[in-house]
Symmetry: D2
Subunit: 133 residues, 4 copies
């Protein structure tokens, strides 16, 4: 499954190079992951409320070209389940037909209280595995 | 008492106008308030841990001139106690001898659990009142 | 004319009080102003490219209640023309039927090169004046 | 050469997990790189003014543990020159003696006007190569 989502470059996220600042991609990618989960029927908010956290454990972004203010970024995202406690989101970011960036963001499922690794809830795990195919 | 503090304009906080973005001032002002409290012997972190929160209830910023990347902003801050649960920080922001902005930020003391108004701790209140003079 | 727009609270914009950080409202308000102009047929991007900048000259936000992660903020915005070079956006921010914040943001029209005050382009000025009614 | 620098976790950079948000590390790392260059006698600001840009071309961060509000992050950074147009900053981030994160950030030297690859200025290149040893 490939999840598609669009976000527009915000003025406050540009820098004096007149491009989207590289750190802002990391925030946008988070919005995209959350919308990707929502499209699969899962609310990250509900997940946290039920005692799970999914902090980022690893992040890699390759920047190919700059993005400009007000341009619409198109994200295509695939999920990969690494284990019962780890998953990766692979995203490609385009503006029209230009590839702007690619990213891999790995998350670890932990317990909201003790912050120890915690097997993801069964329904989420199953849905992610299906989406991984 | 006037508290003085300096912060350098970060690259990530510039925008494509090639100036410090107006929202970033609000973050810088928060750093300054926290350092102002620290200079009076109070840790905002310890305050939160002891059950108080000081959220911003009102914010006013007047922007006079733009600030540029890598410039050093000099903040001069005065505290004013409005009541046992309200205080205001008045700041003037300069780059060298140019006035860049002025700000008034009002905070309300609330309980960390119920989020109800809560009289500030006695030692903090007394110190703020002394500093207000 | 009242412009309506919705934005969802981003995870990266929450703070350890578990509420939308007060500085993030300022960024959201900017997105809203730009969409308000777009709804009137004006692109802020095109405006900048034609030699105008609209930096914020004054900002006031009153925070009534906190907003939480993933909540949808509803912005209702009215424009007021102060002069040929100054305008104010008045916004009310709600989550469902709770008033979260109100804001007034004043912008000044300046020349993109010299950064001197510059009368707004005639069509924009006329449209804003009509919308002000 | 190992460059050392400290930054305190800002309140506005925490999230509702009550940890420093993962995107904020990326901004802190940029401050550290700029201070690393400054410690070697180079101003990134002056570099831009003389017609060079150093955008990030690749970014990798591994998050080991969370950092909390008001904690002081200690960055140890080494520079590696990949070519006449590419360099990498390797950083380790600690809070006291706990390793919080490691990061590799690759920059590409480009021309400020055409955004084409451009050999770094001779003095910078030489200083970076010496520091790489």
């Amino acid at each position: 499954m490939v999840h598609k989502y669009e976000l527009r470059v915000r003025y406050s996220d540009t820098d004096q190079m007149q491009r989207l600042h590289h750190a802002a991609y990391v925030e946008y990618l988070e919005v995209v992951r959350i919308e990707c989960l929502r499209s699969m029927g899962f609310s990250y908010d509900a997940l946290e409320k039920s005692g799970y956290l999914l902090p980022v454990s690893k992040l890699q972004v390759k920047y190919k070209q700059g993005a400009r203010y007000d341009e619409v970024l198109s994200f295509e995202t695939r999920v990969e389940v690494l284990s019962e406690i780890r998953l990766v989101f692979h995203s490609a970011v385009q503006v029209e037909d230009r590839l702007i960036a690619t990213a891999e963001v790995e998350l670890a499922s932990i317990d909201a209280n003790g912050h120890r690794p915690r097997r993801m809830p069964e329904p989420l795990l199953r849905a992610l595995e299906e989406a991984s195919v």
